[in-house]
Amino acid sequence: MAEERRQKQCSVSLPTESMKAMAESVGVGQLQEESCAALSEEVSYRIKEIAQDALKFMRHGKRRKLTTNDIDNALKLKNVEPLYGFQSQEFIPFRFASGGGRELYFYEEKEVDLSDIINTPLPRVPLDVSLKAHWLSIEGVQPSIPENPPPAPKEQQKVESTEPLKVVKPGQEEEGTIQGKSQGATPADGKGKDKGLIRLKPRSTHELSVEQQLYYKEITEACVGSCEAKRAEALQSIATDPGLYQMLPRFSTFISEGVRVNVVQNNLALLIYLMRMVKALMDNPTLYLEKYLHELIPAVVTCIVSKQLCLRPDVDNHWALRDFAARLMAQSCKTFSTTTNNIQSRITKTFTKSWLDDKTQWTTRYGCIAGLAELGPDVIKTLILPRLTVEGARIKAVMEGPVVSNIDKIGADHVQSLLLKHCASVIAKIRPQPDNMEQYRTDYGYLGPMLCSHVMKARTQAALQAQQVNRTTLTITQPRPTLTVSQSGLSGSAGSRTPSIIKVPSSLTLMTPRPGTPSQPSPPATKYIVMATSAGASSTQQYEFTSVSFATSTLQPLVKLESGSGPGLTSSRPMQKYIVVSLPSSASSSLETKSSVLPTSISTTPLEAAMKLDRSESPGASTQSPH
């Protein structure tokens, strides 16, 4: 491998077209092919030389990342005037463009309106350098404090849980990699030798220190206690604290036992609290839960499909708990499902089986459908849509037939709205317009007409919203989202997604605020770039689009982040957020960039379609209609 790489290095040189382009840019029109070739070789050599010198500066700067300053310093070594204007720490401001069979990178020099700059409020002054001391180790033992990294990094937890044999013999493995790297006993560099770390960690760390025991007691008490503020704090701690690895077995047992007891006692509040704990554990970026799924998944599934979750099923809103748990389930399926454990297919089977059963109660039925629906549009398409007719008939029997019981009626009502909510978005995507009421009735039976109106609503709303997105560039300075936990645990109204969790990027800075005037409602050729992607973009089903729109009436631009938490919102999942940002249409080159940024499965049109769809379903966002 190394040899291949080296051979590549040997032959890399700048293409002669670049030479031509550069010559043109300084006014030399016709450059001979030969001189181009000679130039490109010479320039490549010099560039390599400078890059190698720049590496020295990087090393002495104690960095891993080469910066433009290093290049400048290397140029200075050669008595060459440094390049000014590229003093950027974060990114290199080059743009890519192609056309006419040529591809090139260029530096975009935008025209900047001075008054814009003057009128922008000054950015905050960066904080001054400061010193902070903490204990990295106390007599050889590393204390678990937030300043220190978690005792076992997530990758290691994963390795331990998935490939336990590998961990046992770190020495052997290390030897192997060394032998493979260089034919000798002394490797030049020891990459991949992280395994050495593992051996040093104590193997069984299930004894908790006094502090950890206290912490565990406090947290669990707060999580199921009566004080909402305390609970929020505790959940926040679970979701962010890096040192919880050792307490994980206890937490998972606490949750599974808690669910078991409280389902029997029909204690809805406690079940909700426990599910929120699961959510917080899942949100913690330093924890790898796979080892504890055998306890957590049954608990979550119980909360989805249990016949009865509360004392008064006719009054209490246990539907929200089912929704929430279903979303948790979907999330864990997405994170942990592998070809070996097949979580998703096993869960799907379980749900389908009990849904198909005629004797299943409405509550369980609701849970099954919610659980399936949350798994994404593909599952809805293949498993739910074909059964809409049957389910419609069943609902019709309850709604229009003789009054059996109030509880059944409520249940059927909820199942109906659930089906409408989830199916409308999927149907809107797969069915071509126009939406014909009769056609729907023949296709979907009893639910057809209602579905039709939902789908139409979805389409119009999306169309409206798509126009409204204004042309403005937007940079997110701090991409890490902070967590806001909404406090509507119990009191949520029917249909709303009660224990919802909103992720909001903590700060948004507008680089070039260009507030559109009302007289210019829909700028032509708006382009979208999806700025955030997350792992596992294998299928289109799980994307949720969050659009950023700007109030057009005032000069002060408003950033609105749409997340799936608006009242009456129908289809949204708390898993992936996209921030859709529109770019000025003048950047003609961005077309190419876009296609490379987007996940492969989404081409431009479905993206916009999906956008529209999302819009149409969120009446909350329609308050800023441009007209």
């Binding site: 032959s11 070789e41 903490h134 180790s137 260089s182 020891g190 770390l197």
Partner: protein, 728 residues
């Protein structure tokens, strides 16, 4: 022009010798034997060579007066022309002619090279001298045949010889490639490179990368790596048997091309005895110019510590009694005794007290020594069962880039050098930093009062940190003076600056390095300091001289880190040429060359007893060296990225290493040094058997949270302080 002639004459002579290669091999060896017995004749011969080279240089630049003075001082006869001199010395030492002459030639070309740095106009002839050796025309397509023929031969020999002869691959490859390039066979050169570059050891990858970009004769001008290959001979250590085998093969095959390269560009250090194993060779190879010559490490090094000055401890008794009440009387007594005996007995390996003139102790220094001893009595004894606590000082919001850190010896101040050219000093004790009052205000104070030292300080300026502005480039090196009155900083702008920590102003800017100065370090006794930079030269300075006292030149690439020996008589420098050199401060000689690292060296640390040196490099390995014997004695593997900091605990039991991979690791230094097998054979031949016991020696790994560890410091009580900038 003299230099040119000299160079040509040398090559002519070398060709003469080539005609009878067998005698050369024997001769070489005889000379080596002679040097083992007594080092003086060899070194004096080479001294003379150097002198002649200097004379040549001076004459070339028409500095007749200096020539006269130098000649008078060296006691050379007036009329002896230097070429004759070298001839006669060559004849005198018999078979050593080859090596001796080559050294002479090297010295002159080296000198002319340094001169070319100052006077760019002379670049042209110099390069031609350097490259002239490549002028011989071989048949370019045959190069591949030659090389693969040799490869086949080496692969077919007995295992014990194969490892040794494999060392030839890399230097031969490089020189054959350069020859092809020099003679404008670009496509052949490329093909040759592509065919064989994959065979080379992975630790040469950096150099190969440089070579690969070099494909035209024009590029060779001004390429430093190329200069290194040409001006310095690649040194190989090969056992006699293996060497004979190789020679026989080449003679049988009439493979003159390869034989010429071996003669001209390689220095083969032949030793008697068993051929070395692959592991032994790999441990020592990796440097830019092969291993160090054995005789280079034969000079005696006075690694012992200087005698501590006798200081009355007036307060000590009281203090000790007070502590006895605290309930740890047992530890105190024996320690005090051991310390007393240490200072009484003169270490036989120590240099004489006056070898290097050291500054006299001031009253404040004595007070500090007393403080030090007091603290030392409270020191924690470290060991595998008693690991130090580590306190981590994170630099927050250091967006501009933290590039260097130093602590004062008493751990009261931290200084940080930043990429935005600033130097910042923090006080980590509650005592704030204060400036001295202005001159006008100083006139007003009562100079007779007892607390005059307090009174001169300006309370209004008290703050936790101070910023020192003055550099115009990133600050790469920083060092406190032992008395905490001064701070040194070295920067990309080519200067070393001395700052006063009383007034927080710049006192001196030492200019001499024309290129970035990568590191600087104060002598443990103050007054002297050393700096090293991109110009490949380390310089020794005294704070009151604006010009350097010594220039240590010999490294083939940037001097990346510099360190003073605890007895201030020696300086260690690490370099990008992947060697460590130890220099004698007294005469500026290089007394040790340590090879074995596979990447640029970024950290050095002397053990507190002065016997050992630890070094860390970008390859993530720590190597341990015995200074007295000039041997590698240990290899500590574990880090996965550049090691930027190394530090021994105050008693030398624990070695701490800090790295770019965000970890601090603790190693059992006592065990590493105890396990040492120092029988006479290894000492004489310099062949080391390294056990792979890094895992046993590793006592602890402490991961920081995305904070590369760039500096470590043991407090006087053996608490380990680590620093780095937090990179979220």
């Amino acid at each position: 022009m003299a230099a040119v002639q000299g160079g040509l004459a040398d090559t002519n002579e070398e060709k003469d010798i080539k005609t009878e290669p067998s005698s050369d091999g024997f001769g070489n060896n005889n000379a080596n034997d002679g040097r083992v017995l007594s080092t003086s004749p060899g070194s004096s011969a080479s001294d003379q060579q150097t002198l002649l080279a200097v004379l040549q240089f001076l004459r070339k630049n028409k500095l007749t007066e200096s020539v006269e003075i130098l000649r008078r001082e060296a006691g050379l006869p007036e009329d002896s022309p230097e070429l004759k001199g070298s001839d006669s010395s060559g004849a005198g030492s018999g078979g050593a002619a080859g090596s001796g002459d080559k050294e002479g030639g090297d010295a002159s070309s080296l000198l002319s090279r340094t001169s070319s740095v100052t006077a760019a106009g002379e670049d042209q002839p110099d390069v031609n001298v350097v490259l002239s050796a490549y002028n011989q025309q071989g048949d370019p397509p045959l190069y591949q045949v030659y090389y693969s023929g040799l490869k086949k031969f080496i692969e077919s020999v007995l295992d014990c010889h194969r490892a040794e002869l494999s060392q030839l691959f890399y230097p031969l490859f490089v020189h054959m490639y350069l020859e092809l390039v020099y003679n404008n066979h670009e496509s052949e050169a490329k093909a040759f490179f592509e065919k064989f570059s994959g065979d080379q050891e992975c630790y040469y990858e950096d150099d190969l990368r440089v070579l690969s970009s070099l494909s035209k004769r024009e590029h060779m001008r001004g390429n430093e790596t190329l200069m290194d290959f040409r001006t310095s001979k690649f040194v190989l250590r090969i056992s006699r048997d293996s060497y004979q085998l190789l020679k026989r093969h080449l003679q049988e095959r009439q493979n003159n091309q390869i034989w010429n390269i071996i003669q001209e560009h390689l220095y083969i250090d032949i030793f008697d005895g068993m051929p070395r194993s692959k592991g032994q060779i790999d441990a020592m190879s990796g440097s830019l110019a092969g291993e160090g010559k054995r005789e280079a490490n034969k000079a005696k090094v006075y690694y012992g510590l200087l005698k501590e000055p006798e200081i009355e401890l007036p307060l000590d008794d009281e203090d000790e009694e007070a502590e006895n009440e605290e309930g740890k009387p047992k530890k105190k007594k024996p320690k005090k005794d051991s310390m007393g005996s240490k200072s009484k007995k003169q270490d036989p390996n120590a240099p004489s007290q006056t070898r290097i003139p050291l500054p006299e102790l001031k009253d404040s220094d004595k007070l500090d020594k007393i403080m030090y001893m007091k603290e030392a009595t409270k020191r924690i004894r470290l060991g595998p069962d008693n690991l130090p606590s580590i306190c981590f000082y994170s630099f927050l919001n250091a967006y501009q880039g933290l590039t260097a850190v130093d602590f004062t010896d008493d751990s009261s101040l931290i200084a940080g050098g930043f990429a935005d050219s600033t130097v910042r000093v923090w006080s980590v004790t509650p005592k704030k930093l204060r400036k001295v009052k202005s001159a006008a205000d100083l006139n007003l104070i009562d100079k007779e009062s007892d607390d005059v030292l307090e009174r001169i300080m300006d309370e209004k300026t008290a703050s936790e940190s101070k910023i020192l502005y003055g550099h115009s480039g990133p600050v790469y090196g920083i060092s406190f003076s032992p008395d905490r009155n001064y701070l040194l900083s070295s920067s990309e702008d080519g200067t070393v600056r001395l700052w006063s920590l009383q007034t927080f102003t710049c006192l001196v800017g030492y200019k001499g390095h024309n290129y970035p100065v990568w590191d600087t370090h104060f002598s443990p006794h103050g007054y002297y300091f050393v700096s090293g930079g991109h110009d490949r030269v380390a310089r020794l300075w005294a704070t009151d001289h604006y010009q350097p006292l010594r220039m240590f030149s010999g490294h083939l690439a940037d001097v990346t880190c510099t360190r003073f020996h605890p007895n201030s008589n020696y300086v260690a420098t690490g370099s990008s040429d992947r060697t460590i050199r130890l220099w004698d401060v007294l005469n500026g000689n290089c007394v040790r060359i340590f090879t074995g690292h596979k990447g640029p060296i970024h950290a050095l640390a002397f053990s507190p007893n002065g016997k050992f040196l630890a070094s860390g490099a970008t390859d993530g390995r720590v190597l341990l060296w015995d200074i007295g014997h000039g041997l590698m004695i240990g290899e500590l593997k574990g880090h996965t990225d550049t090691i930027y900091s190394l530090r021994f605990s105050r008693d030398g039991e624990i070695l701490a290493s800090g790295s770019m991979d965000n970890t601090v690791r603790l190693w059992d230094a006592m065990k590493a040094f105890d396990d040492l097998e120092t029988d006479d054979f290894t000492a004489a031949t310099g062949h080391v058997h390294l056990q792979d016991n890094s895992q046993e020696l590793l006592l602890g790994t402490y991961m920081s949270k995305s904070t590369p560890v760039i500096h470590l410091h043991f407090t006087r009580r053996n608490l380990l302080l680590a620093t780095g900038a937090y990179n979220p």
